[in-house]
């Protein structure tokens, strides 16, 4: 609090000089007392989980009634169910890629579930923690079906449209050098310009993250004339992000995000969870909280795991509802299959 007078003085000066924006950022960050449990206390006092998202088809979009829907949104709702047994006790704040970290750091949201990739530089240089990886993505290519390229390495000499981003151009140049081929990049600031360039034949391919390619494909006038090449030229593991310094909140996020994965592994889904409550399998009984001890920490309801599965679903429910073959995106499960099915999703045991 010793900084308070100078801060007040500076804010006053800032208001006078109508440069209030820079000041409000630093003022907000000093409002967070930090430390273990502070986020949970703030959420309980507020009665809602505040979740930073980035708008995108299938991941976070408002429906006709203005209710947020999507893959990222469902994981945020799982947190609300775990804490309040109510999927609607959530507030969603849409961010651009540039705003997201300052939004989290200033305390405007409790977590980001917006497609942020886990990277060492972020973990080491920024005051934040990553939760469990809940979506495995990677940069790929969208090409016309008539293209001579059926794999990424056959794109040598091609013109590739990319949206200016943090690592898109880097990944592309790295891939070319690794494979001894060359690309001619056309770098657009706006994705729509890249889409019209691909449709017009100016580019042989668009390169971006796999989930983004699925969305981009739906933006084309004739999506069926284009296909996504199977190769992934980068690793983009998507995980929730929280502020550093609150271990309790980190554990809550960790274990809530793992519930849908473990539920799918046990074969428990949204519709069968009630029957599984009568299961005699001791592991399932511990998982669902029928037998206490494994999941009853941090003042959570003993039945929170069963509640999350009933109200949000297991991983397959969430994936198919938002991204799978029943949706316009048609995203293949790919690496996002369970480890038992040859994918990468693996939850540590609930015991």
């Amino acid at each position: 609090m010793s900084r308070a007078p100078s801060l007040v003085a500076r804010c006053a000066a800032a208001l006078v000089l109508s440069a209030a924006t820079a000041c409000s950022g630093s003022a907000a960050s000093s409002n967070i007392d930090g430390g273990a449990g502070s986020t949970l206390r703030a959420i309980r006092a507020r009665g809602a989980v505040k979740c930073g998202i980035t708008q995108g088809a299938g991941f976070a979009t408002p429906d006709d009634a203005g209710r947020w829907r999507g893959f990222d949104v469902d994981f945020c709702r799982a947190l609300a169910v775990a804490l309040f047994n109510d999927a609607d006790k959530t507030q969603f704040i849409p961010y651009t890629q540039q705003q997201r970290f300052s939004g989290l750091e200033s305390g405007e949201v409790d977590l980001l579930a917006n497609g942020t990739s886990v990277t060492s530089s972020r973990a080491m240089h920024q005051p934040l923690h990553f939760g469990p990886i809940y979506y495995y993505d990677g940069q790929g290519f969208l090409v016309p079906k008539t293209s001579r390229a059926t794999t990424a390495s056959m794109l040598g000499g091609a013109t590739i449209c990319v949206q200016q981003g943090t690592t898109t151009e880097l990944n592309l140049a790295d891939f070319a050098r690794r494979n001894g081929i060359t690309f001619k990049p056309v770098v657009m600031e706006d994705l729509r310009a890249a889409v019209s360039a691909l449709a017009g034949g100016r580019c042989d391919a668009i390169s971006q993250d796999g989930a983004g390619l699925a969305t981009t494909r739906t933006m084309l006038r004739d999506p069926d004339a284009f296909r996504i090449l199977p190769d992934r030229i980068s690793k983009e593991p998507i995980a929730p992000v929280i502020r550093a310094g609150d271990d309790q909140w980190l554990e809550v996020v960790n274990w809530v995000f793992r519930v849908p994965v473990q539920a799918e592994e046990y074969g428990i889904d949204q519709h069968t969870v009630a029957q599984f409550l009568q299961s005699s399998d001791p592991a399932i009984r511990r998982f669902l909280g029928v037998e206490p001890g494994a999941t009853d920490g941090f003042g959570l309801d003993p039945t929170w795991v069963a509640n999350v599965i009933a109200k949000v679903g297991n991983y397959r429910d969430v994936f198919e509802r938002n991204l799978g073959s029943g949706t316009p995106l048609h995203i293949d499960r790919g690496q996002n299959k369970l480890w038992t099915d040859g994918g990468l999703l693996y939850s540590p045991p609930f015991r």
Partner: protein
């Protein structure tokens, strides 16, 4: 009087103090938040490998393992290329349109007026996007227009044969051209000798090392060999030229109308034709009024060339954005951007101001 001047000094001192305080506060705030995020300022990142590719590099060669500084240089050359071509073409087109607008033919002047109003009153970004989108209508590479050997026009741009000339011959050619222009300063006899000597040396060097012509051919996705003029470059230049030519034509028209009528009447009375009056009397006199405004237009063309990011032309802004994104040195890249645009604009303005001073030294029309 004394009291008034003292008050003025006090007010100005106060204004200066407030400005300094604001600057200090902004700088302090930025420094504090940079420190909080553990970011340090510095320009050593310019020596790091760029790790990204650039699609259109003109005659400079670039590959991802070269430095960030080199990438920025490529962007600067691209900006300068667009600005130089754009400025020259905009002035040329602006002159033609401005003169035609004053023609007694109502169809011609009306048509020009419509065009000028359309260009002046629509956002430049819209024009840039429109031209870029319309270039997508060009045929794909396999069905490229092929009017002459090595010349292809497709949606990938205009591909021309490359003339590979030995370095020495290139410079001798430039020297020959330069001596041709130095007639006044060398004197008639000296000039003839110099031109002949340079031309002979040039021809001999060309004979010794024959220039080769490299023809492009379709290889997979794109043409290889030859020189490619990218559609983004063409679209950007075309949009900038159309927009600024419209503004320049108004400058030209105004300046021509400002030449006193007596000058033109006197020239007509001497028996000069209408075209001769324009060329020998009206335009030279009008130039004095228009050069400062042409300079303004060229400076804003240089700055407007940054709309390149919208259509994917790798200009200075586009490359600095990528470099900033990739290295995290956004503040430094912003500073470079400011410094470069400031010096580009000031040098364009300085060059045209110098030309203006030369014109003014030759005298102004009698009013």
């Amino acid at each position: 009087m004394l009291r008034r001047s003292r008050r003025a000094v006090l007010l100005q001192g106060l204004a200066l103090g407030v400005t300094a305080a604001v600057l200090w506060w902004l700088g302090h705030n930025a420094a504090a938040s940079l420190q909080r995020h553990g970011i340090s300022l510095g320009f050593t990142f310019l020596k790091q490998p760029a790790n990204f590719e650039i699609g259109d590099t003109a005659w400079l060669r670039f590959s991802p393992e070269q430095s960030v500084g080199r990438a920025i240089l490529v962007g600067l050359v691209n900006t300068a290329r667009v600005s130089a071509v754009g400025c020259v073409l905009a002035i040329a087109l602006g002159f033609i349109v401005g003169i035609v607008r004053l023609s007694p033919n109502p169809a011609a002047s009306g048509l020009m007026r419509t065009g000028v109003e359309l260009m002046r009153n629509t956002p430049l970004l819209l024009l840039v996007l429109l031209v870029a989108a319309s270039l997508h209508a060009l045929p794909p590479t396999e069905r490229a227009l092929h009017p002459a050997p090595g010349v292809f026009l497709s949606e990938r741009g205009l591909v021309l044969p490359t003339l590979r000339v030995n370095g020495l011959s290139l410079w001798l050619g430039v020297a020959t051209g330069a001596t041709l222009l130095m007639r006044r300063s060398l004197g008639r006899t000296g000039w003839r000798t110099a031109v002949t000597a340079a031309a002979v040396a040039w021809v001999i060097s060309l004979m010794a090392r024959r220039p080769t012509i490299e023809l492009a051919h379709l290889d997979g996705f794109n043409f290889t060999g030859g020189t490619t003029l990218s559609p983004e470059f063409a679209a950007l230049v075309a949009a900038l030229v159309l927009h600024h030519a419209a503004h320049i034509s108004e400058v030209v028209r105004g300046a021509l109308l400002a030449v006193p009528r007596g000058q033109r009447d006197a020239a007509r009375a001497l028996g000069l034709s209408r075209f001769q009056v324009l060329r020998l009397v009206t335009i030279p006199l009008a130039l004095r009024a228009m050069v400062p405004l042409l300079a303004t237009n060229c400076v804003s063309l240089v700055k407007n060339s940054s709309l390149a990011v919208a259509i994917g032309f790798p200009d200075l802004v586009s490359i600095l954005n990528t470099a900033g994104n990739q290295t995290g040195h956004n503040i430094e890249t912003m500073l470079i951007m400011m410094a470069v645009y400031l010096s580009l604009s000031l040098s364009v303005a300085a060059a045209l101001n110098r030309y203006n001073a030369v014109l003014l030294a030759q005298g102004t029309p009698a009013q």
